[in-house]
């Protein structure tokens, strides 16, 4: 029996509104491994793909933010479960894309899965930790609750293609937001696989939309989009962040500025990536007979 079986190559596509469309532009680009060897052709998302992704994210926002925190927690935990089943594939893709040894790639994948678990556990604690009953000086009951900001555009880290991606995406979801993510341009494959994981877990269509391609090209469209409520510039290509922040100012977007350089994603994230995408709503009601 011949061992030279011709491999079935995968066609890499976008993940938008729960489906896997090609870019409407028809464009693709070559993805290579860390050493420059060809890995695959990925879809090269256009501004119109970004537009469609925002529509999907907005449509999904009501249901996702309206789900109980317990339910969202379970959905996020389910992502970790499904990822675990694809552990080997993620290791392979991370190792190839980031040029890591298999043990370091495994550590990154483990951490990425654990990060989902960490955020899954946060959904139903945010209200207790970030909310308050405010002792106002009058006959009123007054309480504050954290609520999702809405649709969040995420420029995912360019280097850490899986752990970095999960570290910026999961907190957005845990808070009840929906996301339009532009993945690492040169290392998009773990994101594509994550899209498959999300599609086969319980995350509703449109809650996460993954666009492979160039943040420098799509970023401005998202930053300027009036129906995007917040933008995470963590993975903004060098030199673009200031312009993106200026564009975001037009619709008073919440902006997370990029760090000077990509951080060590294995560190405990605390609440720092949750609170930027939460609004505090305060409700007053009189107390009388």
């Amino acid at each position: 029996m011949s061992t030279d079986r011709l491999a079935v190559r995968k066609t890499y596509k976008l993940y938008v509104n729960g489906a896997f469309p090609r870019s409407e532009s028809g464009r693709t680009y070559a993805v290579t491994d860390a050493k420059g060897a060809f890995l695959a052709n990925a879809a090269w998302a256009s501004r119109k793909d970004a537009r469609d992704a925002v529509v999907a994210a907005r449509a999904a926002a009501g249901k996702w933010s309206g789900a109980t925190a317990y339910n969202r927690g379970q959905v996020l935990y389910r992502v970790a479960e499904v990822m675990e089943g694809r552990h080997a594939q993620f290791c392979e893709e991370v190792a190839a894309g980031e040029g890591l040894s298999s043990s370091r790639a495994r550590a990154a994948v483990d951490a990425a899965i654990d990060r989902w678990v960490w955020y899954a556990g946060w959904t139903d604690k945010l209200g207790a930790v970030l909310g308050a009953a405010n002792p106002v000086a009058g006959p009123y009951f007054d309480f504050s609750v954290p609520e999702p900001t809405g649709v969040v555009a995420v420029l995912a880290p360019q280097r850490s293609s899986l752990l970095g991606l999960v570290s910026v995406l999961a907190p957005v979801l845990a808070g009840g937001n929906t996301a339009v993510v532009v993945t690492s341009r040169t290392r998009p494959l773990p994101a594509v696989t994550l899209g498959e994981v999300l599609a086969t877990s319980d995350v509703p269509a449109g809650v996460v939309n993954l666009l492979t391609g160039d943040a420098e090209e799509i970023g401005p469209w998202l930053a300027e989009h009036d129906d995007v409520d917040a933008i995470d510039l963590t993975g903004a290509p060098a030199g673009c962040a200031m312009e993106l922040e200026r564009l975001a100012a037009g619709s008073i977007k919440r902006v997370v500025r990029p760090p000077a350089e990509e951080p060590d994603w294995s560190a405990d994230p605390g609440l720092t990536r949750l609170t930027p995408f939460l609004e505090t709503k305060t409700v007053w009601h009189p107390m009388g007979l």
Binding site: G138, M287, L289
Partner: protein, 331 residues
């Protein structure tokens, strides 16, 4: 005049229930209909009502406005004595004060009425002959109202016969709180009949109704039943007249007139002791029910010690200096 109650007398045929004014003719058709109507009235938010009166309480009434308000308030007083120890002498002394509240100042207006227990109404009537000051008598087993309807009606007839031209009745709070609204209604109708030509003030005893929602319902009930005035309190229960209660009652008479064309008066009673309180009430009348209620025909203060404070303030305004309790008469 004595009334002999005969427990064996045959019950009078129950007359058909008197209908309220249009457009509310059918609301007393049944217990259920009446309940639905009263509970369908807009609710009252207590905190909102309190903050409204707090803001109105900051109105600053000075100089000419104050002079007008003092005279208006004096003319709206139902000068009241409702003690077990009341005597004809006490009532005559009160009547004298009612006619000339400030003996040193003939320009001082007289009060609206003298309010006494029914057995002393005759004394008051004689002492007030020809003054235009009304004689008000409390009746219907005041203040608790806990007696049979026959006794209450007899009480009313007795007071009217003694010379009262205004009757201050109490509603059956027990029945009201138990939700027997038609019983309360029927009783007011019967009392109104017994009043003949005398004006009927219906005391809600808001201190026992407790909630402002109840105050609004009871106000409407009393107006629908034909009360000429709605009155807050007997003065024997605390809290008596409060500004939020008065606010709700003023809203009720305003809305009732808008709906039916019939104007009903309001009388806060009990606990209004200072000029400041009285003026706050007048501001409330002015800005809530409207100037149409700013007369003794439509607004009264049930009070006793209030009058002296009004007189002292009036003297101060007239003379420019302060005075003291010996410069006004004790009751």
């Amino acid at each position: 005049m004595t009334h002999v109650l005969d427990p064996d007398a045959p019950a009078a045929a129950i007359p058909p229930r008197r209908e309220p004014l249009a457009p509310y003719r059918d609301v007393t058709r049944s217990d259920a209909a009446f309940r639905a109507f009263l509970h369908g009235l807009p609710g009252v938010d207590q905190v909102g009502a309190e903050s409204r009166v707090a803001v109105l309480g900051t109105r600053s009434i000075k100089t000419t406005a104050k002079a007008w308000a003092l005279d208006a308030a004096i003319s709206m007083v139902d000068l009241t004595t409702l003690e077990g120890s009341d005597t004809p002498g006490k009532v005559r002394s009160l009547a004298a004060k009612a006619r000339r509240p400030d003996p040193g100042d003939p320009s001082c207006p007289q009060v609206a009425a003298v309010c006494v227990y029914g057995d002393l109404a005759g004394v008051a009537r004689d002492a007030l002959q020809g003054t235009g000051i009304h004689v008000a008598a409390v009746a219907t087993a005041f203040p608790s109202g806990r007696a049979s309807r026959a006794v209450k009606l007899a009480d009313v007839r007795d007071a009217v016969a003694n010379g009262a031209d205004e009757i201050d009745m109490v509603i059956d709070r027990g029945a009201f709180l138990a939700g027997r609204y038609l019983d309360v209604y029927d009783e007011i109708v019967a009392v109104k009949d017994a009043c003949g030509d005398a004006h009927l003030k219906v005391i809600l005893e808001t201190g026992e109704l407790v909630t402002l929602d109840n105050v609004r319902r009871a106000s409407w009930l009393a107006m629908l039943a034909g009360g000429d005035f709605i009155k807050t309190s007997t003065g024997k229960v605390s809290p008596a007249a409060t500004l939020p209660v008065c606010l709700v009652m003023l809203e009720a008479v305003r809305d009732f007139r808008a709906a039916t064309g019939r104007q009903v008066g309001v009388k806060p009673a009990g606990g209004i002791r200072t000029t400041k309180d009285a003026i706050k009430h007048l501001v409330l009348v002015n800005e809530v029910a409207g100037p149409g209620w700013l007369s003794p025909d439509w607004f009264r203060f049930g009070a006793s010690s209030l009058l002296n404070d009004l007189l002292l303030q009036r003297q101060k305004l007239r003379t420019g200096h302060y005075s003291g309790p010996d410069h006004v008469s004790v009751d």
